[in-house]
Symmetry: D3
Amino acid sequence: MNRPFRVVGFGDFLLRLSPPGYLRFAQATGFNCYYTGAEANVCASLAVMGCEAAFVTRVPDNPIGRAALNELRKLGVDVSRAVFGGERLGVLYLEKGASQRPSVCIYDRMNSGVTTARPQDFDWSEILRGAQYFHITGITPGLGGNLPRIAQEACQAAHDAGAEVVCDLNYRSKLWPVAAAAKVLPALVEHADHLIANAWDARNLLGVETGDDPDEACRRLRTRFPRLRTVAMTFRTATSASDNTLTGLVNVDDVSFRSRAYTMHLVDRVGGGDAFAAGLIYGLGNHMKHQEVVDFATAASCLKHAIELDVNLATVPEIMQLVNGNGSGRVQR
Amino acid sequence: MNRPFRVVGFGDFLLRLSPPGYLRFAQATGFNCYYTGAEANVCASLAVMGCEAAFVTRVPDNPIGRAALNELRKLGVDVSRAVFGGERLGVLYLEKGASQRPSVCIYDRMNSGVTTARPQDFDWSEILRGAQYFHITGITPGLGGNLPRIAQEACQAAHDAGAEVVCDLNYRSKLWPVAAAAKVLPALVEHADHLIANAWDARNLLGVETGDDPDEACRRLRTRFPRLRTVAMTFRTATSASDNTLTGLVNVDDVSFRSRAYTMHLVDRVGGGDAFAAGLIYGLGNHMKHQEVVDFATAASCLKHAIELDVNLATVPEIMQLVNGNGSGRVQR
Amino acid sequence: MNRPFRVVGFGDFLLRLSPPGYLRFAQATGFNCYYTGAEANVCASLAVMGCEAAFVTRVPDNPIGRAALNELRKLGVDVSRAVFGGERLGVLYLEKGASQRPSVCIYDRMNSGVTTARPQDFDWSEILRGAQYFHITGITPGLGGNLPRIAQEACQAAHDAGAEVVCDLNYRSKLWPVAAAAKVLPALVEHADHLIANAWDARNLLGVETGDDPDEACRRLRTRFPRLRTVAMTFRTATSASDNTLTGLVNVDDVSFRSRAYTMHLVDRVGGGDAFAAGLIYGLGNHMKHQEVVDFATAASCLKHAIELDVNLATVPEIMQLVNGNGSGRVQR
Amino acid sequence: MNRPFRVVGFGDFLLRLSPPGYLRFAQATGFNCYYTGAEANVCASLAVMGCEAAFVTRVPDNPIGRAALNELRKLGVDVSRAVFGGERLGVLYLEKGASQRPSVCIYDRMNSGVTTARPQDFDWSEILRGAQYFHITGITPGLGGNLPRIAQEACQAAHDAGAEVVCDLNYRSKLWPVAAAAKVLPALVEHADHLIANAWDARNLLGVETGDDPDEACRRLRTRFPRLRTVAMTFRTATSASDNTLTGLVNVDDVSFRSRAYTMHLVDRVGGGDAFAAGLIYGLGNHMKHQEVVDFATAASCLKHAIELDVNLATVPEIMQLVNGNGSGRVQR
Amino acid sequence: MNRPFRVVGFGDFLLRLSPPGYLRFAQATGFNCYYTGAEANVCASLAVMGCEAAFVTRVPDNPIGRAALNELRKLGVDVSRAVFGGERLGVLYLEKGASQRPSVCIYDRMNSGVTTARPQDFDWSEILRGAQYFHITGITPGLGGNLPRIAQEACQAAHDAGAEVVCDLNYRSKLWPVAAAAKVLPALVEHADHLIANAWDARNLLGVETGDDPDEACRRLRTRFPRLRTVAMTFRTATSASDNTLTGLVNVDDVSFRSRAYTMHLVDRVGGGDAFAAGLIYGLGNHMKHQEVVDFATAASCLKHAIELDVNLATVPEIMQLVNGNGSGRVQR
Amino acid sequence: MNRPFRVVGFGDFLLRLSPPGYLRFAQATGFNCYYTGAEANVCASLAVMGCEAAFVTRVPDNPIGRAALNELRKLGVDVSRAVFGGERLGVLYLEKGASQRPSVCIYDRMNSGVTTARPQDFDWSEILRGAQYFHITGITPGLGGNLPRIAQEACQAAHDAGAEVVCDLNYRSKLWPVAAAAKVLPALVEHADHLIANAWDARNLLGVETGDDPDEACRRLRTRFPRLRTVAMTFRTATSASDNTLTGLVNVDDVSFRSRAYTMHLVDRVGGGDAFAAGLIYGLGNHMKHQEVVDFATAASCLKHAIELDVNLATVPEIMQLVNGNGSGRVQR
């Protein structure tokens, strides 16, 4: 396994500012800073896994924008296709929750480099040459401006280049209301070969009439979007901000494959979904069996919850060790 | 809801020094510093909730004393009635426990500003003008000097000003022995309209003959102290220093109202009782129904356990969200 | 109780470098530094408990080597018998795990001061004068060079001086393969009066035919190594890197004594076995009853898991409080 | 001295993010966070000096906006007149320079709360009641939107309320080009009773024909803007980012008063001008003699350079000690 | 050189709390903690130089008191003669100055363990057995209580044991007024064989009529206190809190020996005098020539100014390197 | 200017561990970690300047080795030619000096990956394809093992590929004695087209008879090593560890070009020479005039001294600004 293949992601890239530990915003005299974005996190996870991953975005041509790209480059992501421009890097203020206190997330991403991008900023046929997968989430068109159009063009170019489109719906209520998202997202999903979305998403954002049964939702999604080959999702039970349970599901040809359930004591919950998406792409690209794909993607996501910050730094051997049943966390020495 | 009303608290104010994270005193090369005091914490919580809260104390007229008051002012507490004087700020060394290792608390509060205060330092009729509540705990007279007398004068002035007295018994065995406390505290409780105390307190500190049944204890307390309208208490089950369960009880007119039980993974246990007291006062001042009062106060205390340091920084909407059943700690984004 | 007696330990001493909190190596811009070694940790724990403990090692004569010894001296360990020499201090890189993510441990200890020691560096009859116990682990001969021979000489000198030898087998798969260890360790255990090892160790490293039953293993160990008076071991159930359960067993005269089981939320797992060994020696040296010995040693180990870094800083009163059933971790104030 | 009087300031309020110590942006994994703004700094300095200072601004109604105001409240600034609104708090990224490496300053302040304020957000006659001074800088109208108009209204209201207007020209080339500033600033200075500006400012921004001689510049400024009673400025010689020399000048009735020159080893250069402005206002409000005013303002600014972050935390006795010639920085003990 | 000899010091031992870097008290959210005391610093410096140094004090029997002693033990100081008792460890709040801003020092040392000591707490003949030097400063009797008497007894016992008394006058105006000190200090100096004091001290505290000339002061001091063999002092020119110049003088038999002058960029000024005292004792104990003594002591003090915290961690080779003229601070690699 | 060209560097790569700020080793409870190596620093500086820079080394195949390479990749260095192998990453302990206290440097680099490399690990003709410059320092052959031979092969391959060899002599007395270096280094310099070395180096390490006059040394060096086209060096005057003066010299065709002298207040002295080398290569590669080359290289080195850690993060515009005379360090805003 571990066949090298090329993935391209496209989306926004933000400065994440978090108070240290469990301090609240009102207590912080400093922020830990990190750079994040759904598609960037997926690309970084894939680079850590050994894939060739390129991330396309637009950041301001100043030390902050360059520092942001450097963090991805450090992990092995190809950022040579990123474009410099725009006035600012978006900011995500994130206060980590604990026990019954939820995390708090404040977006300050208006007018970020990607938001003000123009279609001519990106030469997609050039960018996607040689790619097997193109990854995009619903956040990107949700940022407005020219992004819905650019997203369409990128997906079309991916098809033309022979790349499969992986779409993570990733609805964010603080970004846009359901009604607005429901106008934009179906057009994106039309292009998807592989979709991460659940029954609620299908019903409310994609106009698919379905109940809460995941198998039914997958079936109806594939009827409505015939291009879809894979539908995947995760189920999360949150006992508290500190403890969650996670299960994954991958549906192929109307057959569902489920991972086992992981009971997790959280270190950092952010990026758990992106780690699942990266694991899914890794499994697909390595032609794993369907059950292996969901096992790998869910184990990857599980490990992310035990890692600080947004990128899953778990390596393939580490993930496989968990897939193979060693979740005891014992130190090897 | 959220009717503005004025609360005045009176007590000591200390420098809290804690090793970072879970380090022991013997390992620390630095201390996190913060300023604390039972009544100060209550006032600060109420200020965060939007109440008009004034804290009265006596601190040395030096940069440390001024820095202490600044921290309260930052949170919106009116400290204009605090008095400068005395030689030193008391110090509380606090080592945070974990799992089976208990927290360690070392008091170094002798000769603090409040301890050496004289009655003429405070003009209570002026201070309490316009107040609806006066908050004091059993710690304050327990500090000795003129404080038992000053506490009496303050309570009397509260009655004269039409303010209700809220008394949290807050017995501290490291401060004074039971026998000494039992000589002083009944005279304080004589003044209380609202009391936080449990059956053990009633029996051992207030001379009330009662078994362990909370309802019986409340009934007998109200017989012994007829001024009392409310008796409140919390029940804590400590699995370990890391995990506790918390339930609240408010008894009015010999009828008890109980909150649901919260199973908490602790971030910082200190200040949990003060958060309950602040929630109680907030509920009373807003004329909540009895069940709402105990639900609000207990949810406030629960959230405090997930917040670093001594002051409950949870806002009213955050507390109401927990009261309304969302304790999953899921991030909203 | 708390009879002062003298313990001498001998082994390597390493610089431990750990990323802060739960960061991975790839994320760290700094390391917490500390100094560690199995026998050193045992000596330090015993010094904290009030014993006279001397640690013998060989460290380079430079500021790093001196800083290492200073940390032991700080805790009251007698390091006057340590020898300066060699080119470097060994390094242990340790990344703390959480939840399903295991800790990662990277040894860089080749050519450390102890590894290149010569027999004439240590005057054992002088060093062991007045000692009641000599403590050594299987790691020390496992480091190669002259250490198997030096270990033999030290044990022999201990017997000559009337000191009992306590041996913790402490097999480390990253240090040497089973086959290599099985050639060296039996000769060490020949000298042991007290042994910490379990059934797997007996079977694979000491050539003792036994199943997994601990009582059988103890019996067969004592048959094979007739000098042995005590065999002790711990049982650990690892739900995850964050949560473990621990039980201790001490077998004397083929009778096993078991502690109760502790369910622990881990702060730092490293040093848990060394804390058990120190507790065992403390119990033996104070002539505790057999049941008291295992209760004390296991409670000591349990508390270590709630303490950062490798040395158990729990004092005797703190351990006794846990032995006596107070594991609620409630703060005393 | 130390006559209490009321000052009102109006302007933007920003989050300042700085890498710790002398790290560059590209090296930072965290930022020290602080809140800053020219007028806010002046108000905070005056509050520390014991004046009644109110700061008017507009910040978003979220935890970041509230945390910003809390920092001013902590220092005693009256923020009850600040307005909640707008989408974001502006951000100032500041990398501290050293030796030959200059500090780097990146503004990200578009669409901050103040920038999107409307005239009706502020009831100036109410806000300025009882004020002796109104402080504003050229940055505020430079932020665009309705701010030039709001600034005019505020100045007019100040005159109506009997307050004197103190204007610090504070030209920022990264904010607006000279040509744009030259269109807006003269209208602001028309309202000023006291102006901080130098000969270059007068010539390039205020259309006053003058050479570089400060006395000439002051004279011509007062001819052009007859309302002006005081013109003040500082002269800075920068040997490097680490070492500066500072002198102050105050011109009243065409007579210039100069402070002595301070040779400073810089801790934090930001806020040095705001500290001068605060010292100037303090001197004016206390009816100091002209020479005393410039001595006090310059000493205040000098001390600010030895204090981290943007607000001058030097107290009046500390400033007076420097005015009186003790600049040796010897510790008193 | 480097003859081992034994020094005993006696005095208070304090917790020093300092904001990190150049932050002011009002800005600190944490303190660096360290343990300090004039005589303790001298003992620690001597231990670092390889001498046998014992420090006698009285600290509370709690984790803070024990942590304090541990820090000295870490550096090799014999603390086995320290006594446990008293209610608290004194606290010294120290804010580091810079440039024109002076350091701020707040004492909170009333009722510390030493202050409440009784004569019978110390068995001086036992403690001083085998000592060559007894070191005490004027601070110790200045703390009041039984300390003037205990200091007398200790000095007398030193004479009886054949140890020479080294007295550093160390007048602290925040501790006691000149008039009070002048009543107590002469009796202490009566016992001194070696004295650190300057002309101002001689005139104001010791009742010696002298001008400012150091040679005259030494001569008159030796006339007044005939036991004195050595009088030493330092001259400090403080350009600012960041830059000082230092020269040392040692006077023996009315002949003065002067070191060269060091121009220092300060890292931490505290403990500079104690480092001089330790260097003086080291030089005396090693029978250096008079010029060598002053050169060594002044170089030791100079290096202390480049070291954080209160103890001089410079080793003898490092000091000798500076004595021998290498003050360029070039890295050796 | 800023013509892209390719540079390849070859050498060791180390973990640098430094106590925070000005703490000594004996005080550190943590280390800042960074990765360093003379040639790696040069490559990183060139990558920051926009050049295509590849660094060749050998690091262990573990998370520490990978983290090391990631740091270079972050800055844009091509590490795809680095080889995984060997047991450990070398360690450099570095304690930062101040004022009269020198920095302390402890090497622990035996058996690092590069030290144990074999010739067949590197395919130099492949690696050097397309390179304009090959950079190596005298440290690399100084590490022993196969490195003198590998260095020879690399230089020969550079010539074959048309790349010029830049050699920085970089003698380290802690690495090898003069006599040993003098046997190895001339063979390396035989290959050099451009050499950084001074008169002392020429005389003691390269067997060139010359006095201290730099012009004479250059002339004689070029006579002895006829391949040499450029000889460069820097002159450093160290007032103290905090303050240095720096001047650069570049000699071409026996004509010397000197930069102006920079008086620097140091932030971090390490890497100053590597920054000069990178600036030299940048100037050569961009065909700057000789005077421009020395001005650029010296300004680059000067700025490095104001930057923490070993890599010069100054960009070309920042360096040019200093070359053009703006060394005042004023903030632009």
